[in-house]
Symmetry: C2
Subunit: 334 residues, 2 copies
DNA sequence: GAAATTAAGTCAAGCGCTTGTCTAAATTAA
DNA sequence: TTAATTTAGACAAGCGCTTGACTTAATTTC
């Protein structure tokens, strides 16, 4: 069906290997045959078969990306960063969504193995041991994004504890003393848990009392923020500020506060985390911690590329700084 | 390096073809050899090389997806729908982002050709003739999403004219007579243009005057919505309702209205289009037209699958209905 | 019991490209 | 002039898997 090297070779009257070399720019042909080959290739509309080439060269120029959910803006943005740099390096991306399901994760790791991808970027689920082992067993260069890793897998993160500390510290410096937190899921010991830890650390460092009643657990989504805030609003003594571990929950909290007839930030300051698109859509616009989502992706693929190139990584775990973004949902009490 | 059929064949003492057949479940072996092969394959940790298989079978089980930008929530959602069904069908996705740049689009079409993908889903840019021709020339089954197509390429859409009509009609039925529109880019004759058309049609059908001063062009993004609204607010006679061709612009408009000291919807009703996440984050929550983004993706891959299977499509262009979602940004004047 | 059928495999070509080795001619060196 | 290099290209093995055609032995048919 499609035109092959053989077709060109026959038409020009040379061997396949010569055609291959010419087409790959390997200097081993007289300029005369070179031109004839190029001309015939053009005429016939030749384009290489990357499968055959990959098989012969043992590399595919494909990176496998395993994420939880493409339509989630966080993953979409990180993936955007990955793709931006990958394309620069000449890599294509195979993207698989697992829904955070361990079996799916294992399944996709396997598929990527069979497809002989040159590298894998993993950012799905809670990084169960089985997955980590499976990734190691592939023998394929791998970088893990935003998931704590036990083994020697290279990874890239944000410092959830430190960044959350930064958020709470900001509130404290605005003069707030009674600060509630709407945390993310913390059972999984990932970001939700760490952001709560940062909150605790900040309180401790500034010698503020830690009170159970000021802690509500959410699931990072808007509705849980709303519900959590409704509970907080029932306290005898209201907090003057609320730190939500995600922008979505922060928006939910704002809605609850407004519904209760209070104002943000006049009555209660609200702070988010993520700096995703809704932080600028809500009213008031959210003060938040801006995650460098694109950069996480960019940096991940850069690390991966180094590994593929056989270079040593300076650091096995990289932490990217976040940015404190001050908008209108927080006010100074001083 | 990796274990091959040959390794298994040698160890078991049979031919490669027998191993291949057993591993593919083709009934042509005694249950005894079958079991020995399976056992050895297990022991050796064999997993197939999909490149070799694809080369031999002339199919890759890969679908190429060409989009403008992964981090854009619209594309991310459509892609999410694609991936959901694709994985069910046993397909992997190669995703490329073009930034809407024609040269990039052509480049990626070429890469997908070389990678011998089994199908292509295209939803990027303004569908220049060159791309359409390039897609046709690949000879690879292709489905186009949300882009007007001249040729015989199958496509899937929403009816921008009709849905926009529906939005404006809703406002009219609420008693609004002076309705402004913040349209998307209309030079490209794609969705922006069609949504404007729907607006005009609705006015005409309900015998409302069409006034130039009530039309502002935006670029679908929030800021342009804000700026457009600021202009509209300078009119001697204000509109009582504004239809924005995207939620983002609608949110921008709301911000401008509030800043001017007016209220939504009490003073001016605002309507959006898309039903993306910000439509529920803003205040008030947006009445909008909900695009079936996931379904666009799902349906696209289903169409593509049919074509790959060699089946005939009943329709070359499918239109999916949107949903009128009524929230709090619009009010009745009656 | 001979012929026909089936079962269980083997053989080898083919998918399309790469690349190390070899050859013959042309060029350079001495 | 002859030997040593270089150049231009051919040859063939190899990447790992699939699959149609063929072979041999076992089973069934009449």
């Amino acid at each position: 069906m499609a035109v092959t090297l053989k077709d060109i070779a026959e038409k020009v009257g040379v061997s396949e290997s010569t055609v291959s070399r010419v087409l790959n720019g390997i200097p081993k042909a007289s300029s005369e045959t070179r031109e004839r080959i190029l001309k015939v290739a053009e005429e016939l509309g030749y384009y290489p078969n990357d499968l055959a080439r990959s098989l012969a060269k043992q590399k595919t120029h494909i990176i496998g990306v395993i994420i939880t959910d493409i339509s989630n803006s966080y993953f979409a943005s990180v993936t955007g960063g990955i793709e931006e740099i990958a394309s620069l390096f000449g890599y294509s991306l195979i993207i698989s969504a697992t829904g955070g399901n361990e079996n799916e994760e294992l399944k996709y790791i396997n598929i990527l193995k069979e497809k002989r991808v040159d590298g894998i970027i993993f950012m799905s689920g809670r990084m169960p041991h089985s997955c980590e082992q499976a990734l190691l067993d592939t023998g394929i260069p791998t970088v893990v994004v935003a998931r704590k890793v036990k083994s020697s897998l290279p990874s890239i993160h944000i410092d959830n504890i430190g960044e959350s500390y930064k958020a709470v510290e900001y509130l404290i410096k605005l003069g707030h003393r009674r600060i509630a937190i709407i945390s993310g899921t913390f059972a999984d010991k990932e970001s939700g848990y760490h952001r709560l830890l940062g909150y605790k650390n900040a309180l401790a460092d500034y010698e503020l009392p830690f009170e159970e009643e000021l802690i509500e657990e959410g699931d990072f989504k808007m509705d849980s923020g709303r519900r959590a805030m409704e509970k907080l609003l029932k306290l005898k003594e209201l907090p003057t500020a609320v730190f939500a571990a995600s922008d979505a929950m922060a928006v939910g909290a704002i809605k609850a506060i407004k519904k209760a007839g209070l104002r943000v930030p006049e009555d209660i300051s609200v702070m988010g985390f993520d700096n995703n698109v809704i932080s600028q859509a809500c009213d008031p616009e959210l003060t938040t911690i801006g995650q460098p989502v694109k950069d996480l992706g960019r940096k991940a693929i850069e690390m991966l590329y180094k590994i593929i190139q056989g270079k040593k990584l300076e650091k096995m775990a990289i932490y990217l700084p976040c940015e404190l973004i001050i908008r209108n949902s927080t006010k100074s009490l001083i």
